[in-house]
């Protein structure tokens, strides 16, 4: 499930230290290295994707995000990015907390489960949604912690995480005016820029 990087690059300062959790084949890190001259590091599990990153000249460490980020120091990065991975994490709450310990800011994107398409599939037809953003059947899916804009903001509140920006896009990274006006119903992808007072 890849989503266009959308507005993310705008939120990264020049020369920032960036950690990308679940960096995949390193598209975003490579883009940020070119456009923002970042010092980037990716974490990824799949060796084939790691090889692709290495060919691109990126630095990638194989690490399971479910084991947390305890091997990183506090405030080691300016920004920690995690795109479309939060819903596959065993404990999204503890990882979010850890992300904002290691990074000054975090950018998180995830599929909005309250999107109207999902509501119709579940609410009217009575089936767990299966669509381009959530392509797996319920019994075999990495997406074990689906949430909504509203759910996520409630969690941020509970963890005392401050939301700097909220954005929404469709799968190809474009914004729709409906999604902007009413994200919880019409936003396909939730995009958040977060920070936390230490």
């Amino acid at each position: 499930m890849s989503v266009d990087t959308g507005r993310i690059p705008e939120w990264i300062p020049q020369g920032a230290r960036v950690l990308d959790l679940g960096c995949g084949e390193g598209h975003l890190l490579a883009e940020l290295q070119t456009t923002r001259a970042i010092q980037g590091l990716g974490l990824e599990l799949d060796p084939e994707k790691i090889a692709t990153c290495l060919r691109r000249g990126l630095n990638v460490v194989q690490q399971d995000l479910n084991q947390g980020l305890s091997n990183f120091k506090a405030n080691q990065f300016d920004t920690i990015i995690m795109t479309q991975t939060l819903q596959a994490i065993r404990r999204p709450d503890t990882l979010l907390d850890d992300m904002l310990r290691v990074g000054r800011e975090a950018i998180v994107t995830f599929p909005n489960f309250a999107h109207v398409k999902n509501r119709i599939q579940l609410g009217i037809f009575g089936h767990m949604p299966v669509n381009p953003q959530l392509p797996n059947p319920w019994y075999d899916t990495p997406n074990i912690h689906l949430s909504t804009f509203d759910d996520f903001e409630a969690l941020c509140d509970q963890l005392k995480i401050q939301i700097l920006n909220r954005d929404t896009s469709n799968l190809s990274g474009q914004r729709s005016w409906l999604g902007t006006v009413w994200p919880n119903l019409f936003g396909e992808v939730a995009v958040y820029r977060l920070t936390k007072e230490h």
């Binding site: 060796p47 790691i50 990153c53 290495l54 691109r56 194989q62």
Partner: protein, 380 residues
């Protein structure tokens, strides 16, 4: 074969400038046995140094004769189009000081006495090897290696290079290595040394004067070592509880694994010098860039300037993935550029020598990028 270097020829280089050693003592002169593969480019930017492990030597790839049935020890990974691509890189491989494959070591005549050094060969360390390798680079006109690569003890040399000569190394590849040995690692080395020293033919290392070799002790040392290089799974797959092979001397062995270890031990005892083995294991034991934790590893590595690739293997228990991850995490703390993969393998520590598609793909991806960065083009 298009992916083999074919026949390669080792050569010896003499160094007449005395080398002062870390643990005391001086070598007034010494020789290093070397092999090189590929072509050094005009700006001398495409050199890769390959460092060998405990019982390795300069013969890392290719064959010594047309009739040779065994290539060099890392032939899977060095050659045309291989991860260390000899179409792009100029590869330097040497037998370390204190070795027994042609470089100055216990078998060499001591110029002061005219007799072989034997047990009186001074103790050498990983730092001494790095120093001798730096002089070798000077001799070859190489100011800076595009990469320095090694597995196991070879990885420790690569790490020491990055620490000692940060400006002379572009990339450091450490495979199945450790930042320093644990008590268990040292214990296995000590059993190996004791096996040699307790052989009645050892004569305190002066076996040459008695015209014998402590073959039984060296063989036993190798048997212990070999067990630690393999995994339980690998041994299970290879031997299980099978009875000895009938086409080889079983020497009263009850199981195939006994026969195999005896065979390996025996072969090794005629190939490797006992004093060299003791010296090499001591260099391994003493390697500790943290100086007994006086300086945290991250602090030591902060002065490095190169990119790092660290690789480990899931079933390696001699230098387990956790040991590689100590290096990785220290590099992360030091904010140095590092990449790391824990490769799936059933082969234990030996996995670093064995062909594997994922290992090859990761290693090649990194090395291709290194060659691009130094402008090393395909010379075919």
């Amino acid at each position: 074969m298009t992916d083999s270097l074919g026949v390669v020829t080792p050569f010896s280089i003499a160094f007449e400038k005395p080398l002062t050693l870390e643990r005391g003592g001086t070598l007034p002169r010494y020789e290093l046995m070397v092999e090189t593969y590929g072509t050094l480019n005009a700006d001398k930017s495409n050199a890769v140094l390959v460092c060998h492990a405990l019982s390795g030597d300069h013969h890392a790839a290719g064959f010594h004769t047309d009739q040779d049935d065994k290539p060099g020890w890392w032939d899977h990974y060095i050659g045309p189009n291989k991860p260390i691509d000899t179409n792009r890189f100029f590869v330097v491989s040497l037998n370390n000081l204190g070795g027994c494959s042609g470089s100055t070591g216990p078998l060499t005549d001591n110029p002061e006495t005219g007799a072989p050094y034997g047990p009186d060969f001074p103790e050498v360390t990983v730092s001494d090897w790095v120093e001798s390798q730096a002089r070798l680079a000077d001799h070859l006109g190489i100011d800076r290696f595009a990469a320095i690569v090694g597995g196991s003890l070879g990885g420790m040399q690569a790490m020491q290079w990055a620490i000692t000569y940060p400006e002379r190394i572009g990339a450091c590849v450490m495979i199945a290595a450790a930042p320093r040995l644990t008590a268990q690692n040292i214990a296995f080395n000590e059993v190996a040394r004791q096996a040699i020293m307790r052989d009645p033919n050892f004569f305190d290392g002066h076996y040459a004067a008695h015209d014998v070799i402590p073959a039984s002790g060296v063989g036993l040392a190798r048997m212990v070592g070999h067990i630690t290089y393999l995994s339980d799974i690998a041994m299970g797959e290879k031997f299980g509880r099978q009875t000895p092979r009938s086409d080889r001397d079983a020497e009263g062995a009850n199981f195939a694994v006994e026969q195999y270890l005896r065979y390996q031990g025996q072969q090794f005892s005629h190939r490797f010098d006992a004093n060299s083995y003791i010296l090499m294991t001591r260099a391994l034991d003493y390697f500790d860039p943290t100086d007994n934790e006086r300086i945290p590893l991250a602090e030591v590595l902060r002065q490095t300037q190169c990119r790092f690739l660290v690789l480990s293997f899931t079933t390696d228990w001699r230098f387990s993935p956790a040991r590689s991850e100590e290096i990785v995490n220290a590099l992360i703390h030091a904010e140095r550029p590092v990449s790391y993969t824990r490769l799936e393998s059933t082969h234990g520590h030996d996995a670093f020598l064995i062909a594997d598609p994922t290992y090859e793909s990761i290693f090649k991806a990194f090395m291709d990028r290194v060659s691009d960065d130094v402008g090393a083009t395909d010379e075919r």
